[in-house]
Amino acid sequence: MAGFILRRLLQLLPVLLGVTLLAFLLVNLLPGNMAIAMLGPDASHGAIVRLQAQLGLSQPIWLRYLQWLGQALRGNLGWSVVQAEPVLPTILQRFPVTVEIILLGQLIGVVVAVPCSVAVALRPNGWIDQLLGGLAYAAIATPRFLFGLLLILGFAVYWRVFPSTGYEPISSGLLANLRSVALPATTIGALEFAVYFRVLRVEMLRNLAEDYVVAARAKGVSPLRVVTRHVLRNSMIALVTVIGVGFGPLVSGAVIVESLFSLPGVGDLLVTSIYQRDAIMVQGAVVMIAVSVVLVNLTVDVVHVLLDPRIRSGGH
């Protein structure tokens, strides 16, 4: 087990290096001088020279990458001139909001998808199956911002149940906090439900045809019990995989949702920093997002091996 984790970590090193390099190059290599980009076209020559010196732009790019990487490894992602704040603490401060809506969205997805797939497994191809299949299809074809807009229209404009924008931290009460993230989390949860449901459905129908189901039925176990105790349990590993793999795409979703509902998360920080031409902050946010995606994927791999020892022996 330790050997497996060590091997995966070693494989990760070049990827992490590449991720930092790409994020650095994206911001530093693309057309336009960063200082001019940040100050705008009307900036005076003196101001540009000063900012260039402050950002160290006169040195060759590979040297700047190495210096930046060295600082980044020590936890210093630079200083945002626009926000007048250090980059890393600003990003870390916003991480909990993003993590909260992603986790809540996934929770909503699981809580809805599991009973739905049980209902379908009890009567495959029945009208519930058709209806849920259609709903899942529609959810997958609806961009998140469109679905979020529909939720705002329904629950913030017509029935004023939930706020359409703003975020209440947990410190101002759990209920207030949950109310403020209800619509964003549901927006994320709808698509997650669709993805989980489709995977669970296929997996459960496959498991229904296994011998152990026949054996359990022959023993006189009720259909509901067969589905919940045997079929659902054996389908769970597929669900865990999808949830883990879905983290990266979910960050994309969080960017949109935070922007739409004005939540102070990392995605919103990224978008506002892009508007404000805050290149250092964009670079920091992109690196932090990519590194967390890599680390989450590693964790999913490890959890997988813990759950299913066959991967360890068969995979390598």
């Binding site: 990827v15 590449g18 991720v19 790409l22 994020a23 994206l26 911001v27 693309l30 057309p31 336009g32 009890l122 009567r123 495959p124 191809n125 029945g126 299809y137 529609a138 997958i140 074809a141 609806t142 961009p143 998140r144 911002f145 469109l146 807009l149 705002i152 229209l153 404009v157 296929v202 129908l205 496959r206 229904l208 045809a209 189901v213 026949v214 039925r217 259909p223 509901l224 067969v226 589905v227 990266g248 795409p249 979910l250 960050v251 994309s252 960017v255 949109i256 739409l260 990224l270 978008v271 892009i274 508007y275 964009v282 992109v286 997002i289 990519a290 590194v291 995606v293 890599v294 994927n297």
Partner: protein, 283 residues
């Protein structure tokens, strides 16, 4: 209760529905209609220009005379804007997928066929790209390249290229040890010849059916970029941008966001459904 299914599962084949021929024609028809409307509609129908303002008819509802789908807050005709916007959305997403098909497919076939360090370098490079969530990468690239149809297409290609490369590599690994490839190698065929004449035909069909699903995803990314204000710049409309603009008037005139939303939804559904039908039938 569906006891019979659970009691005698082995008697039945897998209870997964196979989409029939009707789905193919139905969704193909929907897609054809939308594409025809976007590209031919403005030429044939007596529509106002998408930028023409009509201040006497601001926020007109659906069904107004002269403005079939209503107008936005500047009195611009929504139908006309949706049709012109559809051209941009379709062109950008199809363009990004074509780029992915050519560049990603090429990289994947090279990686899969050559193996060794070539494969290692390309695969690690793809791993790096996969670490960035699609929209985050597209956002960053689009913001630094600057807003234009070409740049947005390029930005979305950062998502489609690795997606295709991974698929082409997997497909190539499946066929490269088969006898017809071995035979061609023994006859002394070059790598390029084997890649284009023997491997490509075997992975191309799968890649083309995948294109339909990918176009749907590319369309969502394009719309999301436009929604965030980093897509194709106004006044040129695109569906995502039209929805974003409708957001301001969502409480007074929700149809301004919902009409382009419906176009987007229908088109993505049609692409997805077609992709599914083709993959189940021939995949």
């Amino acid at each position: 209760m569906g006891i019979s299914v659970i009691a005698t599962p082995a008697a039945r084949p897998l209870p997964v529905r196979l989409p029939g021929g009707i789905g193919l024609w139905c969704w193909g028809g929907v897609l054809g209609l939308i594409v025809a409307l976007c590209y031919l509609g403005p030429l044939v129908l007596p529509l106002p220009s998408p930028d023409a303002t009509d201040f006497g008819n601001v926020l007109a509802p659906i069904g107004t005379a002269g403005h079939l789908l209503g107008t936005d807050s500047l009195g611009r005709d929504l139908l006309s804007r949706c049709l012109y916007g559809g051209r941009v959305s379709l062109a950008v997403s199809v363009g990004a997928v074509c780029l992915g098909l050519v560049v990603g497919g090429g990289l994947g076939i090279i990686a899969g066929y050559r193996g060794g360090w070539v494969d290692a370098v390309i695969s690690r490079g793809l791993d790096v790209l996969f670490a960035f969530p699609g929209l985050v990468l597209a956002l960053t690239v689009a913001s630094y390249l600057g807003p234009s149809v070409r740049n947005v297409t390029l930005a979305i290609a950062f998502y489609t290229v690795p997606a295709y490369a991974r698929m082409a590599r997997a497909g190539t690994l499946r066929v490269r040890t088969q006898n017809f490839v071995r035979a061609a190698e023994m006859f002394g065929a070059r790598g390029f010849y084997i890649g284009t004449r023997h491997i490509l035909p075997n992975v191309l069909f799968l890649m083309l059916t995948y294109a339909l699903v990918l176009i749907g995803i590319a369309m969502v990314i394009e719309a999301s970029l436009s929604f965030l204000g980093l897509g194709v710049p106004p006044p040129q409309p695109s569906w995502g941008q039209l929805i974003a603009m409708g957001k301001q008037d969502i409480s007074d005139a929700p149809h301004i966001a919902l009409v382009p939303g419906a176009f987007l939804f229908l088109t993505i559904t049609a692409f997805n459904r077609l992709g599914d039908v083709l993959q189940t039938r021939y995949g």
